[in-house]
Symmetry: C2
Subunit: 320 residues, 2 copies
């Protein structure tokens, strides 16, 4: 008996069959970076699921349940993707029902930051703790909160929007409409915006050379590379990203007193550049006894946390 | 069968016998504003408990369990008051054990903000919801978080330090060592500090007359009175207190997606002055769907939330 865990991302659908012990078996990935219309993506998911079901069947294994993590606003009760920044045309897509109809198996849908958090809890860095906060630091900043071993969904399944905590009331404008969200400083997008602002203000930086003077080509990865080469502006940007991450973590620690904070996502590649300033803020701002006991660690399942978390939810759904 | 709920405050111990339906029966209050040494306070609590036990006995009722909410840092597992700003000399006081020995009944100890939150959940404004955040706005700002109907204590029983969320990284210094905590703006102490700062900077205000030019006599209540009389500075201070309260509530709503935020404590007397700016910030900063559905309401149990919450914990401790 196995389940399928699915990580629906903006550029690819990735899925695996997973055993009840949390071992990945057969995996598949479909590139959807060029076509993100609902019909196309849905067909890609369904045919991939059927492919994996067939493979497992040949081995004598039955797929009994499916879990999927999706970016965007999820209506948990209805199993609907309300909106998603990654899938512009999507509006109130009943993903759970459509998949259940397509493959005739029970499907559980959750937010992708929640599935990542649950994956890290089940099989990753959070295996031995009961309460953790997982931040996925990529284009945006997603959050998943695990309390008493389970995802805290909130009243409407919308809890964990940690990227949209206000860390500086007078900070830059965020896509969400607020100003000074954590995401405006510590996400890849936030760091790139900061770099472009600084270049426009005449700051010296090798980012100009690296991007061939095309600001649109600047990425967070490029900022990290520049910092590694000693670029001062890039180092400052990463230090600032860490500072505001630390401010957010300090508040989260004071509010929730978790055992662990797990940081995942592409931005964490620059760990050595942003963590010193983050830790400084945590030490300055959180209660000492709480800060001392909260482990702040990188995720242990890069690339698979979401799949495993979705699989874990799928297993639970069928009572395994 | 009844229990006793106790609210240990900086100036008084207040306690009542409470029925399993949450009805207050006999109440007692002991002034401890002049003497807060451990021995004196403990004797006052024990003799008051015994008094209430005796009264109930005469009526044929048995007291079976005791709950107490205390200010300060509480070690829940051990039932110890680690430190408390209200009781300077107290250090690692094993309050649970001492009371159990003194009255020979099971005692449950919790933080006073948690008991207040639990009281509002059980019998107050939060009766019909399962998740709520309760802020007690007085000298400081305490927080209690109720999730799935139960207090969220965190890994060490220290969760809910909402008064020490950073709402402005460059804000005033807080007693906790941080800068820009919610408490530095929206507590009584924070507002008084703000008034004194403004007076020192030469701002005009009738607070000078009301306090007879003695800054030490300025209170939050006086600021509210001055605002009611049209004093501009006082109105600004309350507006600013509301603004930062709103920033904190917006982040809490985005993080936890609660059904309700309950505001209690003396500062809420000035509701009409601080709430407009608070609501403005929530609307600006929280996700619209979350902000729309979160009820922000005053507590319904002024003066008794802590007693009832402690009683509720006492009942649960004996499985009622």
């Amino acid at each position: 008996m196995v389940v399928i865990g699915i990580d629906l991302g903006g550029s690819a659908v990735r899925l695996s069959t997973v055993t009840s012990a949390g071992r990945l078996r057969y995996s598949k990935s479909v590139d959807i970076s060029a076509r993100r219309e609902q019909r196309y993506v849905l067909d890609a998911i369904i045919s991939s699921i059927i492919e994996l079901i067939t493979i497992e069947k040949k081995r004598g294994n039955k797929v009994v349940s499916i879990g999927i993590g999706s970016p965007g606003t999820i209506d948990l009760r209805k199993g609907v993707v309300v909106t998603s920044a990654n899938f512009k045309g999507w509006k109130d897509v009943p993903l759970k029902k459509l998949l259940e109809k397509g493959v005739n198996l029970p499907v559980v849908l959750d937010n992708d930051a929640n599935t990542a958090a649950f994956g890290e809890k089940w099989k990753g860095a959070g295996r031995k703790v009961n309460s953790l906060i997982c931040l996925t630091m990529g284009t945006g900043i997603g959050g998943g909160i695990v309390l008493d071993g389970d995802i805290w969904h909130g009243a409407d399944g919308m809890a964990g929007e940690i990227g949209h905590m206000t860390v500086n009331p007078e900070g830059p404008r965020c896509n969400c409409g607020n100003t000074g969200c954590l995401e405006t400083y510590s996400s890849a997008t936030g760091m790139v915006r900061s770099a472009i602002d600084s270049i426009s203000n005449g700051k010296k930086t090798i980012l100009k050379q690296l991007s061939e003077r095309d600001n649109n080509r600047i990425t967070a990865k490029m900022i990290h590379e520049a910092a590694l080469r000693g670029d001062r502006l890039s180092t400052e940007i990463l230090t600032e990203a860490g500072k505001y991450l630390g401010i957010a973590m300090a508040s989260l620690i004071n509010i929730l007193n978790p055992e662990m904070v797990i940081l995942t996502g592409a931005v964490t590649g620059a760990w050595d550049f942003f963590m010193p300033s983050a830790i400084l803020e945590v030490e300055k701002r959180a209660y000492k006894s709480l800060a001392d006991r909260t482990k702040i660690v990188p995720g242990k399942l890069p690339g698979t946390a979401g799949i495993l978390g979705a699989a874990g939810l799928a297993l639970r759904q069928v009572g395994t």
